[in-house]
Symmetry: C2
Subunit: 393 residues, 2 copies
């Protein structure tokens, strides 16, 4: 890739190392734990990069699984080895936080198809010694959850006190409750949906096309050819980032304010602060995320339709469940609007499940679940506290 600085080169090299040898805990699996995928493919050698926080209690009953969103990773509450920044959900997870690592044993695993140590397209295919690239089989949200279940088996954790996640993390929470109801005592699906909408599929498709349009994508073989589709992935991230915010939030943060200038330049420079901000989002994302992983994980979200796996009736996914649910949405989230959460709640009600639901007032859009939202924290503390008492913790 032309014009790459030494620093960027190092970041890309670090990212590639991270995909195979993550700076975190690592669980490796062989044929005895072959991973059967929804596509029909089987992964005979695969691995999961994960982190843990706090301690498992003697009765192994205090484990909480955090499921990350599209571009998240296992570093939920500790330093990210690539960016050097803190964890992505330190507001929610940590000592004394709503998900209290002084009380709970918190596990967070990089998703299948990811690029932070769990097997995905950036990983080396053991049969060829080369990166999987597009020869990596397509994965689904259910496959991600299957992989996490294997991890928990290997850790000797039979039952999760809680499964918590927002956005794609929330999809995994719902899938956990559907696939392994007996293993999930409580579940917090946040800012999520039981199926991806046409609009959301559309936005993802634009992002994928942006990546694939970049000639440096090389039909997916950019790692072998030592290039990166940096521009395409950057454009994809810019577009996606708009959908994570709300119009009011963009107005409040940037409005029509100019970037370090008093008048428009009448050029294609980033005259407006919002342009400069988006360009920065695009460029910094490229350093930490694999483009093919972006294709695979967006695709997994698009394929997600929990009702479709149950005769088209979402309530059947939760039939007979004893899991306690807390569903939360945000008023200004237009990517996963409250109507999506209501559909989940209606299905849980129809299934006779224990469910509480709250629509949280926020102008921060979809990203609100990741941010300082006192009402979200209060809701989480209340729900987890009550569940812990019921669980005898």
């Amino acid at each position: 890739m032309p014009n790459r600085t030494t620093q960027e080169d190092q970041a890309l090299a670090d990212a590639l190392t991270e995909a195979n040898r993550p700076s975190s805990l690592l669980a490796q699996f062989g044929p005895e734990r072959a991973l059967q995928l929804d596509s029909g493919a089987v992964l005979e050698h695969w691995q999961i990069g994960y982190q843990t926080y706090g301690s498992l209690n003697a009765s192994r009953s205090n484990a909480v699984l955090i499921c990350h969103a599209l571009t998240g990773d296992q570093h939920v509450a500790s330093r990210n080895p690539i960016t050097g920044k803190g964890g992505w959900w330190t507001a929610m997870v940590g000592p004394g936080k709503p998900v209290d690592t002084d009380r709970f044993f918190v596990i967070c695993a990089n998703v299948l198809g990811g690029c932070m140590g769990t097997t995905g397209p950036a990983s080396t295919n053991p049969e060829t010694g080369k990166p999987w690239g597009l020869s990596f089989p397509m994965v689904t949200i259910r496959d991600m959850v299957r992989a996490q279940a294997h991890l928990l088996d290997s850790l000797g954790i039979d039952s999760l006190f809680s499964v918590v996640g927002g956005s794609m993390g929330g999809m995994q929470v719902l899938q956990w409750a559907a696939s392994y109801p007996q293993r999930v005592f409580s579940a917090l699906p946040l800012a999520t949906a039981a199926k991806h909408s046409a609009q959301n599929i559309a936005f993802h498709e634009v992002g994928r096309q942006a990546v694939m349009a970049d000639p440096d994508w090389r039909g997916g073989r950019y790692l072998e050819e030592n290039t990166r589709p940096a521009k395409g992935l950057s454009v994809a991230r810019m577009g996606a980032h708009i959908t994570y915010l709300s119009e009011p939030a963009l107005h409040r943060k940037f409005g029509r304010r100019l970037q370090e200038r008093s008048a428009p330049t009448f050029t294609f420079d980033a005259d407006f602060q919002v342009e400069s901000y988006l360009r920065h989002q695009g460029v910094s994302f490229v350093e930490r995320f694999d483009a093919n992983s972006y294709l695979y994980v967006t695709r997994a979200m698009d394929y997600f339709d929990l009702a479709a796996d149950h005769d088209g009736v979402l309530a059947k996914a939760f039939a007979g469940t004893k899991t306690r649910f807390c569903v939360a949405s945000f008023t200004s989230d237009w990517l996963f609007p409250t109507s999506d959460s209501r559909a989940i709640v209606h299905a849980l009600n129809a299934a006779g499940a224990s469910v509480s639901f709250v629509e949280l007032e926020s102008d921060k859009g979809h990203d609100a679940f990741l941010l300082e939202e006192p009402n979200l924290f209060a809701t989480t503390r209340g729900f987890i506290g009550a569940a812990a008492r019921a669980r005898g913790l």
Copy 2:
């Protein structure tokens, strides 16, 4: 550009011809009508491609100017020479239609910066004999309106019975009323705003970055180098197209239905109908629109802020106006939401203008103004009919 078919080559050649020698009426201007631009630049030789429908009456009082949106052109009610399809607003403009060409002399001009015969980056710079490309000066909505005023002068039309347009067309309507209040008897700004929002600037910036990321853009010199940034422009169009529709419309039209298959392929093919639709939108757009024009015209929209030109007070833009206004928005338009139209109405009220306002119920999103919307047609007929009586037409 590799992999281009003969048919695509022909379409691209036709488009380039159209930029300089349009299949429509053409007005050419020289130094005596030099065009002074907001950027400070001056165009000494420039031209406008335009169409007319119906006949100018003896008192020259029945002229209606239609202003087109971002990717529109002068072919509002007649066959488009590139696509071979009918005009883009035949539902609204034609014999017996709400803007009735049996009664009115309708003019529609390609905007400055466009690519259908009005001077823009795809036009030949007379000083160099080469396409302007990025050496073309930046243009604003006010510049577009200035150019149209020159056209009307050259046609001997002093006063417009009405100026009508949606989206960016509506911005021009507002600018007409502000710049030339004595020339505008009535004005219909539809689905528009007096300034572009941060979110809208953000979406445009993603589109521009998608174009510029394409190596075939060649720093804007693709016409000279006989390439086209087709993939980049296609991605830009796909992303923009999502914003023209509403989530309910996408759900109704496509939902999660698969494209000519009964099960997902577990590949990156366009499994979903909405993906196939978007890809088609992208590909067909590239054949009819110049990528640099897309950069310039989106930029003009981003720069639009009518209040900023009047001490930050929108009402001052309309001080003392005698123009009759009808402002309309659509309930499901999230790109130019009703709140944008209300801001216009409030300013017109503050200026003591004659204004009626209607929010039209529709689930079709921003594109509703271009579609079969009986309530829009009824509103337009009513407003234009009353204005015509007041004008003695």
